[in-house]
Amino acid sequence: MVRKIEMQPVNRREVMKFVGVGAVTGVVASLLPNLALADAAKTAAAVKKVAGGKTPASGKITLELPQIAENGNTVPIGFEVDSPMTDSNYVKTVHIFADKNPNPEVGSFHFTSDCGKAKASTRMRMAKTQNIVAVAEMSDGSVYMAKSEVKVTIGGCGG
């Protein structure tokens, strides 16, 4: 009898602990996708804005990015868009977005037919492991998109 009475509070505590852990995991689980969604939504909105209501097609863009970036402060990024770059058919602009940075916009690069090649490279900051999205606007109004994931060891936004 005595044993049983002692057992009960323990059981209750165990149960409460279990419930507590469950609640915490529940909250975290429900919070994380929301955060990710917010970032993805921000990027999607930014992409939509530059695409001007068109659905970007895939292809034409080659992204040069490391698979793993040790230092998020300077990540080399290069891109090339397949285009003859003539006066009538050239790449107007390439926009780069990072979907998990505080602000998705990285830069917009405006080309002319005098560039000869729609190719450029720079260095960017990455807060954490994320997708880099490139959107290319062509002179004929068509829009292309490419995506590449970069794993970041140390983030580069100096939180």
Binding site: H110, S113, D114, G116, R123, M124, C157, G158, G159
Partner: protein, 109 residues
Amino acid sequence: MAKAKARVKAPKKVKKGEVFEVKTLISHKMESGQRKDKKTGKKIPQMIINKFACSYNGKEIFTSDWHGAISANPYMAFYVKAKDSGSLDMTWTDDSGAVFKKSAKVSVT
């Protein structure tokens, strides 16, 4: 940031019609606006170069708009198709309105 060290690397001699690479580098802290002052806890205001442009003999051929995600001491490489001998003039403009300039001469044969 009154003084910024800018460097431009382009080939001195190119053949007409050739597409050559131009590499540029400028010293600028590119304060992203995300960093916090450790003492006050306040965010350090953004101060970045927001525009880069390259003119080839007076005609703007390549420009780019930069955001806070461009690294400090920004590097920019792009391509130019050789037409006539002349100069490639780079300009960088930052949030304070300061303009930095650097040119490179190219002779086209």
